[in-house]
Symmetry: C2
Subunit: 433 residues, 2 copies
């Protein structure tokens, strides 16, 4: 450890005063990180700003919430991902506003980061459709801290039930209510039902397998973006796991320990919100009129109308492809392809080349898992379900995980869990008794 | 999922009304869990009460705080450990008092748990020697939540330094101060120095290898329970890693961002307390006069004087062996042997046999690690250091970890870290920007 006066490296000045175009990417999710990586060899000065120090593989976050995986297995430090990309620096900070006139981003820590090109990839957060007071009772799942919180709630419910003296209390504590029948809701419901089975041997006074898992979907079927046959299969899979699936039943009120669903009041110790998302406040920062769900409307090249120097990508953006009647969905493949497209476009401009044509999404299919040996997948006209679907789902998810080590760790954890029926990460942290 | 009315299992009544002696163990650390396992086949009704749902392998906790291991690798749900022990039930609750007359333990959740035999294995917590206001500035390391908190502080210090504009701020943020030169302090100092090296490539504006790591020890040498030769070697190892070791220098004041050490004021972004522990409030619960450090004095059979039905073991107890002038140290081997002894003793009594002779500790040696390829170990007159000591340390720690899966995961993580010089778990969670 040498004299601390030498802490500032010479690269500092370099990035501050370089003549190369300054590119700022806000958000290091699938969209932002893809853009950053597509700029790896571009003659630009790149700054990536994120509230967290990690990139999160969100599709597996529900497995952290249900004690199957540990966060480090699905998250990777952003600095680590961009270590060898010398044109990139990373700031762990939160953007609070954008001065589009001065071309400058303002942050919570008080920094002002100037840009020539800005990429907004700030993602989405939960939407309680105006009932924000529901958030305290039915938290959602977007970040690792959310997952810790849910894991703590779910595992604590079994602990409290084991000690409850009253049978009504016990029944309520063993009732898990999930609002929203999209992929996250379906995956959580299946995982909680399986968790209840796997912990049953550990309890003496309660029968954990009697836990009631209720999945509420306001629409007519779960996993509605999939073919109706696959939706029906997913529902049957869930029901075989013991999940109560209720479609066409919106929740009308949520309060501490109780949800009102149609005529029924369901007493429950654990509610989870998987029903709605809305885009982050990027539209407000830009002063543009947001689309439905708070999205920033973008042109065919993913720039914000009136701001050819600002791109919005991933869940932040509403991109309606030519000839389509609604925006592309907020899923990882769309975000990644948008990021890569924008990164390549900026790289070409920086190299003095023509930026290229409009963005075109190439869908390769979609999949969702319900539980052990159960998943559905849809690729074009091909539809897969059951064990083959599940193997496909597992391979695809391990393949897309960033970092060799994480892939190996996840595979090992899954193999272990499959062979032993045990969950590896049943730790209650951050809890107050 | 069947009718929730069936949630209470028949085993409930069994454990409540059985004629077998009721044994209550408070605390599932090394001492408490060893006692519980020694009672595996005993004709008793066993209740284990712990504030956490996990047993923690505390000797490796510093590796969670320094981003080398993930908590699940060194913690195991207590229920999982006792799954097959049908005479045991587990309560996740906090003991608030003991009614020794009614032979009943009171808990925070309002339960009253009756006992015929009580085992207190509640461990120790930090002691700031009366300066409790130091705790907010220099947190310690006892639980997983402590480790998360330290990890967040340590990693955030580098993040903040990267963004600091002022060179004094930057130098302070890159100064890490550890108070206490025992095993925890030494291991933390070495691990932070190595962490700084391993992340250096990830930062652009700071030189992380210039981080200043200061280890303060009030006494004349670090790792004082070891032979002076080994202490001296540990000090040299630390200094080779770039750690500033200061012995004979007590800290006289700690405030936000600054510690006063002798004549010097050290500006620092991260302080860690590894200096003192005191026993948990068991002595207060019992109404007995605590020994130095808050310990419960115990007799040769580890019972509390005047209470042949109450044992105190592990860090809770001060046991002075025959002919010795001071109590056994608060380390894992002592705790485990005390637990096993008490468990066997209770089992023999329950079976109508003579309880056996007094407790005798069989020391098998001690070890501490400083960093990559550096550790010291002492077994009787044998003293090992350097790479052989480090291999010995690693093998012993992996061997003693509970659960096959964790051993494998830890080995894999260590091997990965050794081969790549990278840290696997560099996630900042629970932080507010």
């Amino acid at each position: 450890m040498t004299d601390s006066q030498t802490a500032a490296s010479p690269r500092d000045a370099d990035t501050e005063t370089g003549q190369r175009p300054r590119v700022v990417i806000v958000g290091a999710g699938f969209a932002g990180l893809s853009a950053a990586r597509a700029l790896a060899r571009a003659p630009v000065d790149l700054t990536v700003i994120d509230r967290h120090n990690y990139h999160l593989f969100q599709p597996l976050l529900y497995q952290v919430a249900t004690a199957a995986l540990t966060p480090a297995e699905i998250a990777e430090p952003i600095r680590g991902v961009l270590r060898c990309q010398d044109n990139a620096r990373v700031f762990m900070d939160e953007v609070t506003g954008i001065d589009t006139g001065a071309r400058c981003v303002h942050t919570k820590r008080g920094a002002r980061v100037g840009y020539d090109t800005l990429v907004l990839a700030t993602g989405a957060r939960h939407s309680y459709f105006g009932k924000d007071h529901w958030a305290a009772h039915a938290p959602g799942l977007k970040t690792i801290d959310d997952a810790f919180h849910l894991r703590q709630r779910i595992l604590s419910a079994f602990e409290k039930a084991e000690m409850a003296e009253d049978s009504e209390d016990r029944a309520a504590l063993l009732t898990f209510l999930i609002v929203g029948g999209g992929p996250t809701g379906v995956e959580l419901a299946g995982a909680i039902a399986e968790l209840a089975r796997s912990v049953a041997r550990d309890f003496r006074r309660i029968d954990a397998t009697s836990a009631r898992v209720v999945l509420l979907e306001a629409g007519p079927r779960v996993l509605s973006p999939f073919h109706p046959d696959l939706s029906a299969r997913a529902r049957r899979d869930l029901e075989e796991l013991g999940v109560e699936v209720r479609t066409g039943t919106p929740v009308t009120e949520i309060a501490e320990g109780v949800a009102v669903v149609g005529e029924e009041r369901i007493a429950t110790g654990t509610m989870i919100w998987a029903a709605g998302v809305q885009a982050s406040p990027a539209a407000r920062w830009l002063g543009v009129e947001p689309g439905r769900g708070g999205h920033v409307p973008v042109g065919p090249d993913l720039t914000v109308p009136g701001h050819p120097e600002i791109y919005a990508i991933g869940d932040t953006a509403a991109h309606v492809p030519d000839g389509a009647d609604r925006p592309l969905p907020g899923v990882a493949p769309v975000a990644k392809q948008m990021g890569a497209y924008v990164g390549r476009r900026i790289a070409r401009s920086a190299a003095g080349k023509a930026p290229g044509g409009p963005f075109r999404f190439r869908g390769r299919g979609a999949m969702a898992t319900i539980g052990r040996n159960r998943a559905i997948a849809q690729m074009g006209r091909l539809r897969v379900r059951g064990f083959p679907g599940w193997m496909l789902w597992g391979l695809a998810h391990v393949y897309f995980l960033i970092g060799f080590r994480n892939r190996l760790a996840v595979l090992m954890n899954w193999t272990w869990a499959y062979a032993t029926w045990q969950r590896g990460v049943r730790l209650i942290t951050g809890a107050q008794i």
